[in-house]
Structure formats: structure tokens, C-alpha cells
């Protein structure tokens, strides 16, 4: 995009959430997801309980909460703890050990005593209305590409329930994921470019996997990203599942904040004042509307309520992120707080079945001048009211620029509003679980069995296997690192060949459209085994692997037969070389030993990878010599 991020004052930090490979944090249920039909479904509600949520109009809040039902799907691998029908069991000690191990790997200082806290979350994703979280260590750091990044906190926490669907009145959650232990690793806001955080995240992910005690696969590691720019505001963006998306999310958030700042400046230029919550019933305007949404809402006994946003005309249609306008942000708030389906605004009208005439009447009734925008919602009156209230609040925030928010990452790298950014006040002690002292004995035991760090591994690979610095680094950071060591320890093969096959050949085959994801460990190990037994040569390895990828059920030997790639015996090879030399005896006589080059070309076409080129060259040289003598 060509933005100067440093100049914009971009500050990025992130949190990594990694699921641990052990049972749930506060009960004995297995940490596994299920796809079958639920055994039963339980409907619950949550209410705010703590004043730290901020000063809110209690009546309005009660109204907003009313009718919001969470339906929990219970599968046979969950118990009453997930269902909030039983107090939590003592903390899973194995999970705590893994978190401490991660803390030590990240050079952090474990606490003397850890306390379980409740983090209030009333979106239903936790049945009890809070997520339990334990600060385990502080003050760590990692080095990535020679630069040091701070890791101020490492926490152990429970994962939330899986959202399965959402309607206006009801959200479905599945309880299988609730309670799976996670380590949360938070970096400082130390990154100032969109691309470095992904590298650091990758490295930390590697460290965690080095413990061998974390889960792998989609959804088992998730990133939240904190982003701000100068003049903007801090955003916490939740649930970025793919590392490749991080830079896009950052770029688009910068774009969004810049656009919001432009909107602020424009509103200031227009001398826009505070928007008031004056709602006008405009149901009459739309009694015969061409919009199906509006007709249905009125038909069901609902109303159309409108609110004027003075001097906002044109700004609601302003794009903040590709495909998302300022109007979309307003609609996010209306949906969340009013549980309405959506809203209409004059920047996009006439349209959606709404005529110019209706727009004119709407403007008249709401007393909207040309430079004003009007937002309206057709729904049950109370919901429309709550929705418009949220719209006005959000519009007023636009006068100040960018509000601090928690936002959800969308698959395309855009983000949508989830809730205002919570303060520290939403954490309070979990009284059902006592403090846990972290003894020196415990830490010493963990220290003794710490896994090898990636940087140590790189050094060892260079020393032991004579890999280049670059290849050693790449294989260390690869998910194939375990397989690499397995192969080179088991078979007599060139480690550089193994590493470059795993890291380079597979990548280039993938680029050529070969379905390399079909290759399993055994395919790769078997191929190198054949090489070590000299049944194949190194040249046809890419060809063998690409055939295996296309026919993953075939045996390697069969594929060799098919391809005619079985390595030639020395006798076969000698026979072939003698034949070639005899057939080209003229050239040998004319050019003497220099004929080697020409004959080698002919020979290699015939050999087609069934023999090692060095060996071929050696035999050819001898044969030429003996012919010249004889």
C-alpha cells in the first residue's frame, strides 16, 4: 500500500493462544472436539454483575440483556463443570507445568504464587460468564532475526465454547472446546511494521511445539493482535487463525483508522455537533414500501424508527476497509446492542426497494437538511430503539476519531466490532480456587527436561549434519524438523539432500500443482530408505515424490517399477557404458579423453536417473582410458 508505517506511529503487539495437549483445565474431560448431534441442549442467560463494566443505564442494559438466550450443546465428552452446574475442580497440574515450561523457554520469570482470575465475558462463550485465567510468568523476551521482543506476560487460561450459530435472539454454542487449556503469550507493542509480527509469531509457535505438549492443526493456535497508530486508538483484534493473515489484518486496520481520522477531520470541518438520541417514528412513510424487510417488520407489529445524524451526509458511505463502509460499522453496533437484522441509511438510498419519494418524506419528517444523514431501523420497537441508541453512540465517537474496541477478524483480513475494549476491572479473583505456590522444586524439574531451543538446534544441525546456515534455520522452523532427524539418524543419506527435499523440493512441487499434502511421513521415509539401500539414485526423487503424491496408496517399489526408475546394478551400468563407448569409438579416438563430455551427455539420457551421475562418469572415464590404451 506504500504507507510509511513508522511515520504513522504504528504499534503492534500480539497474543498467541496455543491449546495444550492435556485434559481440560478445571475438570477431567478430554480436550477434544465432537461433530455428532448433541445429547441435550441447555438454554441460559447471563447478566452483568460488576460495576467495573462501566457506567451504564441499568434499565437499558436490563432491556438489552432480556431475551438474549444462549443455547449450549452438550456432547457426551463434557461434564457439569463446563455446564456451570458444578464448581471447577483444582487446576490441571500438567497444564500448569506446560505453561511454566513455555515461560522458561521464553526467558520469563515464573511467579512465586499464581492466582486464578475471572475475566468477565458475557457474550455467552463461557457458561459462567467469565473466562478463568492465571498469570504464570512475567518479563520474558525472544529474539527474532537478531532483534529482541518483550513478552511481558504468559498466562494459562481456559478456551471458550465453540460458536455454532447466531440468530437475533439466540446464540448456539458447543461446550466441547470450553475449558481446553491454552497458554496465552503476549508480546509488548514492539512491532512497527506489518510484516515482522508474523515472523515472531511463527517463532513462538515453534518454541511451543518444541515442548511436544501442545496441540497441532487448524484452530489449535490463534492470534489476537493489538494495533494502534498515532492519533488513532488501540484495537484488540480477536481470532486470527492464520499467520499469513496477520499482515493483511494490520494493513487494513491502519487503513480503517486513517479513514476514521479523515471522517473526524471532515466532521470538524463541517462543524458537526453531538448527535442526540431523538428517535422519530417514521412507520407511516414506509407503510407501502417496496422493501420486503420493512414491510415484513411492520406486518409483524414492528415500527420504523429513524434518527438524524447532522452533517454526516456522504460519510456513512465512506469506505473504511475493502467492502466495509462507515455505515457497516454503525450496523455492527445496531445488530449487537439492538439485536436487529440491520439498518438503512440515506447514503445508500434510494435503493433496496426504497423509493426517492420515501427518502424525501423521511428527510422531511426527520427535519434533515441536505448535509444530514438519516439512519433508520425497521423492527420490534424496543429493539429498533436499542439499535439506534447504539448507532448514535457510535456516531458520536466518530467526532473524536477512533474508539478503542475489541474487534473480530474476518476471513478476508477485515474486522468487525465485537465490544468496547474492556478495562483491567473486569478481572476479579476466582474464589472457588485457592492460590497455587510455584515451588523451586517444581521449576527445577521442569528446567531439567526443557527441550532444545530452535537456535541451539540450528547450531547443532550445522555442526552435526554439515547443513548450510540457511538450510539449518529453515528445517529447524519447519514442521518437518522431527522427520528430518528421524530420517538422517535411521538411514545413511546426505542430510543436506534430506533437508532440501523436505524444505525446497516439496515447496516447488506444490507450486507446480502436485498435491504434496497427500504425502505422509512414511512416503518420505521410505523414499530415503531406498536411496540409502542404493535402490534409487538422488536424481529422480522429485519425480518419485510427485507420483506418490498423486497415488498415495501405492507402494514406493511399485511406483519405481512403473517409472522404470530402479537403480541399475554396476554390471548393468558397465555394460551400458561399454556399449556407448563402442558405438562412438570414432569420437573416442578422435578426441581422446576429451570425448568424456560428449559421451556423458549421451549416457545420462540413457541412464534416466537409474544410476548416480558420479558413478557413471567414473566408469566412463575408465572405459575410455582402457579403449585408448587397447
Amino acid at each position: 500500500m506504500g504507507l510509511n508505517y513508522e511515520k504513522l506511529g504504528l504499534r503492534v503487539g500480539f497474543e498467541i493462544h496455543q491449546e495444550l495437549g492435556t485434559h481440560k483445565l478445571f475438570c477431567n474431560c478430554p480436550s477434544e472436539l465432537r461433530d455428532e448431534e448433541p445429547l441435550l441442549e441447555v438454554k441460559r442467560r447471563l447478566r452483568p454483575t460488576q460495576s467495573e463494566l462501566g457506567k451504564v443505564d441499568r434499565a437499558a442494559l436490563a432491556e438489552a440483556i432480556k431475551g438474549k438466550v444462549f443455547r449450549y450443546q452438550v456432547t457426551d465428552n463434557v461434564c457439569l463443570v463446563e455446564l456451570d452446574g458444578e464448581p471447577p475442580h483444582p487446576v490441571n497440574e500438567e497444564a500448569l507445568d506446560i505453561a511454566l515450561e513455555a515461560a522458561l523457554l521464553l526467558n520469563a520469570k515464573p511467579l512465586d504464587e499464581v492466582h486464578t482470575m475471572r475475566k468477565i465475558v458475557i457474550d455467552g462463550s463461557n457458561t459462567c460468564g467469565f473466562q478463568r485465567t492465571i498469570l504464570v510468568a512475567t518479563d520474558g523476551h525472544v529474539e527474532v532475526n537478531g532483534k529482541r521482543f518483550r513478552i511481558p506476560t504468559i498466562c494459562l487460561e481456559e478456551d471458550a465454547a465453540r460458536k455454532m450459530g447466531e440468530g437475533a435472539e439466540l446464540i448456539d454454542y458447543r461446550l466441547d472446546r470450553l475449558g481446553i487449556p491454552l497458554v496465552e503469550i503476549a508480546t509488548g507493542p514492539d512491532f512497527s511494521a506489518p510484516y515482522t509480527p508474523a515472523k515472531a509469531a511463527l517463532y513462538i509457535g515453534q518454541l511451543l511445539r518444541a515442548t511436544g505438549k501442545v496441540k497441532r492443526g487448524i484452530g489449535t493456535i490463534r492470534q489476537d493482535i493489538n494495533i494502534s497508530i498515532a492519533g488513532g486508538a488501540r484495537q484488540e483484534i480477536k481470532g486470527v487463525q492464520e499467520l499469513t493473515l496477520i499482515s493483511t489484518v494490520i494493513e487494513r486496520e491502519v487503513q480503517r483508522q486513517l479513514a476514521l481520522l479523515e471522517i473526524r477531520d471532515e466532521l470538524r470541518r463541517r462543524r458537526a455537533g453531538k448527535v442526540t438520541k431523538r428517535m422519530i417514528d417514521v412507520t407511516n412513510v414506509f407503510s407501502k414500501s417496496g422493501s420486503r424487510v420493512i414491510r415484513e417488520a411492520i406486518g409483524a407489529g414492528g415500527a420504523v424508527l429513524a434518527v438524524k445524524l447532522p452533517k454526516f451526509a456522504g460519510l456513512l458511505g465512506k469506505e473504511l476497509q475493502p467492502g466495509r463502509r462507515f455505515g457497516t460499522e454503525l450496523a455492527d453496533c445496531a445488530r449487537l446492542y439492538g439485536k436487529v437484522g440491520g439498518l438503512f441509511h440515506t447514503d445508500e438510498l434510494p435503493g433496496y426497494g426504497i423509493s426517492q419519494e420515501e427518502v424525501d418524506r423521511l428527510r422531511k419528517i426527520t427535519d434533515a437538511a441536505e448535509g444530514d444523514a438519516v439512519v433508520f431501523i425497521a423492527d420490534v420497537k424496543e429493539k429498533a430503539e436499542a439499535g439506534l441508541n447504539a448507532v448514535v453512540d457510535r456516531a458520536n465517537q466518530a467526532l473524536d476519531g477512533v474508539p478503542e474496541e475489541t474487534r473480530r477478524a474476518l476471513p478476508d483480513g477485515n474486522t468487525e466490532f465485537m465490544r468496547p475494549l474492556p478495562g483491567a476491572g473486569r478481572l476479579y479473583p476466582e474464589t472457588d480456587i485457592g492460590p497455587i505456590p510455584i515451588t523451586r522444586d517444581r521449576l527445577n524439574k521442569i528446567r531439567k527436561r526443557l527441550p532444545e531451543l530452535p537456535e541451539q538446534k540450528v547450531k547443532r544441525f550445522i555442526k552435526e549434519y554439515d547443513l548450510s546456515q540457511d538450510l539449518a534455520r529453515r528445517i529447524t522452523l519447519s514442521e518437518n524438523v522431527g522427520l528430518f532427524e528421524e530420517i538422517v539418524k535411521k538411514y545413511r543419506v546426505d542430510p543436506t539432500l534430506v533437508a532440501s527435499t523436505l524444505e525446497e523440493t516439496l515447496v516447488s512441487l506444490r507450486r507446480d500443482g502436485v498435491p504434496v499434502e497427500n504425502l505422509n511421513k512414511k512416503h518420505l521415509a521410505d523414499t530415503f530408505k531406498l536411496l540409502s539401500l542404493r535402490k534409487i539414485t538422488r536424481e529422480p526423487i522429485p519425480q518419485i515424490l510427485s507420483t506418490l503424491a498423486r497415488k498415495p496408496r501405492e507402494k514406493v517399489e511399485k511406483i519405481l517399477d512403473e517409472l522404470g526408475l530402479k537403480a541399475m546394478s554396476i554390471r548393468e551400468l558397465e555394460g551400458m557404458v561399454s556399449g556407448i563407448v563402442d558405438n562412438n569409438i570414432e569420437i573416442v579416438r578422435e578426441q581422446g579423453e576429451n570425448s568424456h563430455k560428449i559421451l556423458m551427455g549421451i549416457l545420462m539420457r540413457e541412464v534416466r536417473g537409474r544410476a548416480d551421475g558420479k558413478k557413471v562418469s567414473e566408469i566412463l572415464r575408465e572405459k575410455i582410458k582402457s579403449r585408448l590404451k587397447g
Partner: protein, 449 residues
């Protein structure tokens, strides 16, 4: 000081650090800054609890090399909702909430020292704003104990508070009570309150009211609905009817029992069906054999209970010395939770004989919980009847225990006690055992499991 003891407490006092003050701690390469928090009384005495600016708490082990500095004043943490003031609306019923302690009425979390709001109507409205639309709430406190610490004197204290409120014009009274012994208190109030002409509703919560998932709000709303808007002039318990936040059941005070350690729907009516339910503010009654409310009346408190009554579970190798021990400890009455239809091993016969011989009544109930005792089917039962054991019909063991205390408070004559125990006073004995009054099956053949 908020859980700090010994030398650490003295040191904090010396540097003038109070709960909530900002503190800096330095030790071996680590430095922490945050607010001083109360120490859980469960924790070790050598650790100090800090709340970091991020909100996390942590414990720092304090040794003689640890440096603690106070860097600023602060306030103790306060939890709870902002209070709401609501004007009295004469068109709405007046409901008094009598506090007795327990999860709904907790003021201070003793374990963390966190300060909860005092128990005032404003704070109740703040926590459950829906109550404002239902009734004019008044709050008084009879006592403040966890329900496992309830005593007969406290039952009477609660009873007197209830009677005073009803006699001075309350439409109904809600008693906020810990759930552990709520059934016992409900039974005690049922026998104690004579001439009841308005509802008395006990309510509690299984998930404390400081959590967003608490059942307290729905239970309290439903209890106030029954107290203010129903015609049930009886002592009842109103609690969640299922594990969902959907409806509450109205249980008769003498037929209700806590049946699960932690579930929301822990309270069940035993050997009968509940009086009714409350859903979305609507009352729905399942039966009409309840005492109807009257506009006028006067409640009298008959608070005579004999505290020395024992409730004893019968077990296979039980021997007479258990009963002898109780007798020599001065117990005046014994309720047995017998096996099956109301049985006890032969090894207990001698003890029972000696107990009754000394004029101490022995009442038989069943540890099956559901069903009626019948001591005429097997010879063991007949033998026990012969020894003078009083059959407890379909009374809950806990209710029989309260009733025996009540009976002994009024007479010590065995025949009179036997008469009282076998007469229905407050719905504790039903004449018919209803076929539908039992646990719902886990698997239903209809569901095709």
C-alpha cells in the same frame, strides 16, 4: 488485616500499607508494582497478594531480602452493581426481603476480603432491576450466617421477623437463605407460623450472585412474584425448576429437599408434586389444595423447639451403642433414617428398646428418600413397631426431625408425641402416594435410546 498474619502483617503495618494501596516489591531480579490485595485465609502466610495494573493478581513470597515500598494511597476493591433508587408505587405489592446470610445476601466475601455492597433495597434493585417492576422492596436482616450454621434460635428469629412484616402489612415475605439447610428452615417456619395469611417464600442460589451466570436473579424475581402476587398463604421454597434459566418451581416448605450438591435445580418436591411454577413473571399452579391468602389476619409465632433431637442414618453394622451414646448425651428424641420401608438391623433393637423405655421417642423415616414407610410388611418392621417406634409416613427425614423438635417443644408424653407425629400439621404428610412423584427417568423408551 484482611488475611495477613504474623510478621508480614506487622511489616505491612510498619510501612503503613493498607489494602488497595499501591506497592512496589523488589526481590532477586524481579520487580512488581500494583495494588495490595487481601490475602486469602486459605493461603500460606508468607505470600503477599498484588493486583497488577492489568488486573491480574499474583502472590509474591516475602523473604528477608524482599523490599516492599508503599508508593501511593488506594482504596479497597469494590465489587457489585451501581445502586438504583426507586420510589414506592402504591399500586404494587410490598414485599419484604428478610436476609439470613447465604449466597444471595453475601456482603463480604470472607475468603478474599472483597467488599460487597451492603444489603439495601437500592442495591437489590441495582443487581436485579426487574424487581422494581414487580413490588416495592423492603429489606431487613434477621441474621447473617451460612445456612450450615443455622440453629433453632435463628429459625425463631427469622420467624419473628417474618411475622412482624406480615402483621404490619407486607403482601408477602421473601427469606433469602443459604441453600444447604433451606429445607430445614422451611419446615421449621411451616410448623412455627400459625395463622399464616400471606406467602412466605424461601429463596437462595446455587451459583453465587457475583457471577454473571448466577441463578440468583431468576430465583429472586420468581420468589418476589410468589410473595407479592400469589394467593399461596404457606411457607414455600422457590428455586430453579431445571438446569436452564427458564422457570422456577414453587415447593411446599415441608416437602422440599436439596438433592444435588451443585445443580441449579437441586431442590425437589419429594413424594408430591410442586405447588406450581413461575415462568416469565407468570404464575402457574399445579394444584389447588393450598392455604388461600386472606386480606387480613394475624400471624403468631409458636417458637417452641427442643434442640436436642438427633437425625440418625441407619447402616448395616449399626449397634445399639450409637443410640445409647445419644441418650447419655441428653438427647430427647431420635429420628431414624431406616432402610427400605423403615427397617433397622436386629443389633439395634436393644438400643431402641432402652431409648423408648426412657421416654425418648424414636421416629422412623426412610433413607430411600422417596416413598412411604410401611412397617407391617416384614417382621423387622413389625418388631420395631412392637418396640414403640413411631412410623413417619411419607415425611422427609429432615422434616420429621424438625417436627419432632417442635412436638418435644410442646410435650414430652410419648403418646401425645406419637399422635402429633402421625398427624398432618403443615402438608408434611400426604394421604396418597402419587405415582408421578418420583425422579424423571434418564432414558425414555419413547425417545428410542
Amino acid at each position: 488485616m484482611y488475611g495477613y498474619r504474623g510478621s508480614l502483617a506487622r511489616y505491612l503495618k510498619k510501612i503503613g500499607a493498607k489494602i488497595g494501596d499501591r506497592i512496589r516489591i523488589q526481590k532477586a531480579g524481579s520487580s512488581y508494582e500494583g495494588a495490595l490485595m487481601p490475602r486469602s485465609e486459605l493461603g500460606e502466610t508468607s505470600h503477599l497478594v498484588l493486583k497488577l495494573p492489568s488486573g491480574y493478581n499474583l502472590g509474591v513470597k516475602v523473604t528477608k531480602w524482599t523490599k516492599i515500598v508503599k508508593i501511593g494511597e488506594g482504596k479497597p476493591p469494590k465489587l457489585g452493581m451501581p445502586s438504583i433508587k426507586i420510589k414506592r408505587d402504591p399500586s404494587k405489592p410490598d414485599v419484604t426481603i428478610v436476609g439470613s446470610g447465604g449466597t444471595i445476601a453475601s456482603r463480604v466475601d470472607y475468603r478474599t476480603g472483597a467488599v460487597f455492597p451492603a444489603f439495601t433495597p437500592e442495591e437489590i434493585y441495582g443487581a436485579v432491576p426487574e424487581l422494581g417492576g414487580l413490588a416495592n422492596i423492603k429489606v431487613i436482616e434477621a441474621c447473617n450466617v451460612f445456612s450450615e450454621h443455622m440453629t433453632p434460635e435463628l429459625w425463631v428469629k427469622i420467624g419473628r421477623a417474618v411475622a412482624r412484616e406480615l402483621n404490619s402489612g407486607a403482601s408477602g415475605v421473601v427469606v433469602a437463605h443459604g441453600t444447604d439447610t433451606m429445607g430445614y428452615t422451611a419446615a421449621a417456619l411451616s410448623f412455627m407460623l400459625k395463622g399464616l395469611f400471606r406467602p412466605v417464600v424461601l429463596v437462595g442460589s446455587q451459583r453465587s450472585s457475583d457471577r454473571p451466570s448466577s441463578d440468583a436473579a431468576l430465583n429472586l424475581i420468581s420468589a418476589v412474584t410468589v410473595a407479592g402476587r400469589s394467593e399461596i398463604a404457606e411457607v414455600c421454597v422457590v428455586m430453579h425448576g431445571s438446569t436452564e434459566d427458564d422457570f422456577c418451581l414453587i415447593h411446599r416448605g415441608t416437602k422440599v429437599r436439596k438433592c444435588h450438591t451443585s445443580r441449579r435445580d437441586t431442590f425437589q418436591t419429594i413424594n408430591d408434586v410442586p405447588l406450581g411454577m413461575v415462568r416469565d413473571g407468570e404464575l402457574k399452579l399445579f394444584r389447588d389444595d393450598y392455604n388461600r391468602a386472606k386480606p387480613e389476619g394475624r400471624v403468631k409465632v409458636d417458637g417452641k423447639f427442643e434442640p436436642k433431637v438427633a437425625l440418625v442414618k441407619v447402616f448395616p453394622a449399626m449397634r445399639s451403642e450409637v443410640l445409647d451414646g445419644l441418650v447419655s448425651a441428653g438427647y430427647k428424641g431420635i429420628v431414624l433414617e431406616g432402610t427400605g420401608l423403615g427397617h433397622a438391623p436386629e443389633s439395634l433393637f436393644e438400643g431402641i428398646k432402652r431409648t423408648i423405655g426412657r421416654g425418648i421417642p424414636v421416629v422412623m423415616t426412610s433413607q430411600c428418600i422417596w416413598g412411604r414407610v410401611n412397617m407391617r410388611v416384614y417382621s423387622t418392621g413389625r418388631d420395631l413397631l412392637q418396640l414403640g417406634v413411631i412410623p413417619g409416613e411419607d415425611m422427609l427425614p429432615e422434616t420429621a426431625y424438625i417436627k419432632l423438635m417442635f412436638a418435644l417443644g410442646h410435650t414430652s408424653k410419648l403418646d401425645e408425641i406419637s399422635e402429633i407425629m402421625r398427624t398432618n400439621l403443615a402438608g408434611e404428610i400426604t394421604p396418597r402416594t402419587r405415582p408421578d412423584a418420583f425422579l424423571k427417568p434418564v432414558f425414555s423408551p419413547k425417545a428410542g435410546v
